[in-house]
Symmetry: C4
Subunit: 265 residues, 4 copies
């Protein structure tokens, strides 16, 4: 499930070269750096295999809290700043110009409604996480980079409220249910689907998506060792998560170089 | 078991450059797009490690339901549209021109006979699946991209009808046995060998081959967590599989870019 | 534990470009194709991660059964035809010209002595196999490409005859012990070390080294599913192994393209 | 968690090309080969996925035992000889010139104080090791390349002395505690964090970091086979570790080629 760097880079080059130029609706009141963070975050998670052909990264509009920014419907590995569109919190596109929308934009819309503190939302089908999403074993932090999991990781099962469905968050009602289960936490697992991570900016939300996946894989291996496991305490979780905030720029610059080097090829 | 994109691409370039041009039997009544889908599907599955040196993708002839199309005997990573040949449903090549045939073409021939609804067949030695093929643990869908598994995944053991063999589907009689076990399902596991996935077109059959392998790996990890697992219900399976049909073009275009970028290198 | 194709290729290019040219002792009575098979086999196994910085591939001299051919002491990823040297069955180099020898050449020497049927020997520190080498769980074939394991896989523990050692086959006495445990089998595991695979030619011995590692990994996963496992029967093993012999050239050509494309870069 | 070679290489090229040239404090009394070993060791471990955005390699100053050498705060994949700085054993930078320092330099400083025999220290967040760091299962050597583990692998839990913290070795007091737990061993695990490996030179310390991670992964798989495991005895450990010392240059040259080829691209 991993994309080699070479292919991500070539994909980006090719998509830039051969995709017919869409009549782009410029987003003049959004700093270009924010659009770039959304695009870089998507491609970083694709590069790590945390997302594959599915998954999305969004950010709340920096000056209009009732709007958010997300790519048109596109594989995460291919997202560029030019693909970012603007939405209201009912999931309606502002100035769609015929572009396809992610069916599950309601995940983002409803979380932005419910969580004024959240400025970025990431949805993945993270392979490390899917086994936990269908198991009774709670996801818990093993190590400091996943410290944000110490507050607890709720699991949302769509069937509880909606019976047998196609598993998708296809409207605001289902999105509200997901947001209720997320509550005030940084991560919610979606049974048989994937997860959502949130944060005060794109870098933190993407960092959390990545390290939730890493922690899931490592916790799975730790469980296989067959003994009691020492997880981070709640207090350790809070203190170590402050460090994650302190180091985020260093790790983001490394990740950005990885995907931009792809672009440069 | 993974092939890096760079090598797939270089392999394709080299095979085009140095393989002596075979006296190609053109297939004038087959749309080139279909031949390309078969080739792309083979290379995508090789790229993902779902097939290695072995495995094959076929499609029923679009206008003659008693014929099907499959590559000459060639590693899946190397298949191009020019390698595709035409066969009847007894596995005989139409216009062989001295090209080698896949020994196990009877897998495809007999399934096309037994299943008028099937327009594409994929055979893999999927590493994720082989452990399930030899175990009593039934393969069941964990997540929505593998929803098509919810109808049940039969396991065909060649020894039941044929005793100790070389494990290969080397004639129509063995192929009929496999087709009987497949019945009306989308996937059948082959004990100690691999699997077959089928679908109404190449893209769906290849999608199913990929996500059967992913599901097997994730289910293996979920089992290792040691608790009860919540699988997709039959109804969820049917509803979510409809979504897989809705998104197939988006994911196919991403996969096609991956292997074609290899070609362009 | 995986080497990307790009780096293997670049390693080969660089080693050809910058390694001081050794005063090479030509091997005029050895067909160049055999020297190339040894080099290709080494690099293929390095590429698959079956060997890393350690491990070696040898072939019995085609016209002098009391000599064998193996690279000078060099990481397997870097071996070229020019690195191949000739040895007698006591492990002495014919015309050493100051080149370093593999400390464990006695593995090869003693097996060629004990097994007149063997024309190629491969030694690896295969990661898939090492867990089985230290466990009581017997390695058994799950699928047809590993059919040659059906005759049984002995485990040689150096401590049985030699007490606490540095684990290396550093002389003929230890090599004889290993050859006795190998007996008439195609594979022997070496406790806490790796394995040895043998065959009637380099391609088969290398094929066996690769598929022994694959089978070990898949068997480990199958065991984790927690149910009874259906292994290949002895008769299935014999019949399916005949097929491995039938397809070896196709798979070898694919593998050779992979590492030679590396060279071409 | 793996970085492809291509990206490491491109990262190095890009960082050399676009990182503003720092006013470099030259280290005239340090042999350039030592600075290169530190840089190569960092990039090798990043390449293997043993370190990701975090982790560091240091060496004691060759002529002043009260100083040590380590990169400025930088992702391990990006370290070059020009990034190396000099520190005293209280973790103070000699001639900082505004460069950022690793927060956890106290790991290195305190171990150099406590261990006169140690000439190199490596700190990783090794994914293979983290599950062992939180489990009661002791890490023990499965195979000869990990023979140095036979003397025992202590686990340091910061909470024992310091209660709930952010898990970091952020001052000399915490560093002393870690050094006490390391005692005279070559490796110490850090609960919920990673590990530290030490050695008489950079190559050995880096070798140990790599093979500790490999051993952890293989031991995890061996445990999953469900039987008694035969680990290396203490005596085997001592004898086999002498061989690791004997082969270190061969493996280092292979690893160095891998990352330098990245540079050359």
């Amino acid at each position: 499930m991993r994309f080699s760097f070479a292919i991500i880079g070539l994909s980006l080059w090719l998509s830039a070269a051969v995709t017919p130029a869409l009549a782009q609706a410029p987003l003049p009141d959004v700093p270009p750096a924010l659009l770039e963070d959304i695009a870089v975050g998507s491609r970083v998670l694709a590069d790590f295999g945390v997302v594959d052909g599915f998954g999305h990264v969004s950010a709340r509009h920096p000056t209009n809290p009732n709007h958010f920014l997300m790519s048109r419907s596109l594989a995460p590995a291919l997202v560029t700043a030019d693909d970012i569109m603007e939405f209201d919190l009912d999931g309606n596109a502002i100035d769609a110009r015929g572009r396809s929308l992610f069916l599950e934009r309601f995940i983002h819309a409803e979380i932005y409604k419910a969580r004024p503190d959240v400025m970025s939302v990431v949805h993945t089908h993270s392979p490390g996480v899917i086994p936990f999403s269908v198991s009774k074993a709670p996801l818990r932090p093993l190590f400091h980079n996943a410290a944000f999991l110490a507050v607890g990781v709720p699991v949302w099962d769509i069937a509880k409220e909606f019976g047998s469905t196609d598993m998708l968050v296809r409207d605001g009602g289902i999105g509200k249910s997901l947001a209720r289960t997320l509550a005030d936490k940084p991560v919610v697992l979606m049974r048989g689907h994937g997860d959502v991570t949130v944060g005060p900016d794109v870098k933190i939300a993407v960092f959390r998506a990545y390290y939730t996946d890493v922690n899931a894989r490592l916790q799975s291996q730790a469980i296989g060792l067959g003994t009691e496991i020492t997880y981070l305490s709640t207090e350790e979780g809070a203190k170590a998560d402050a460090i994650n905030f302190a180091v985020i720029d260093r790790i983001w610059n490394l990740w950005k170089q990885r995907v931009q080097l792809g672009l440069a090829k």
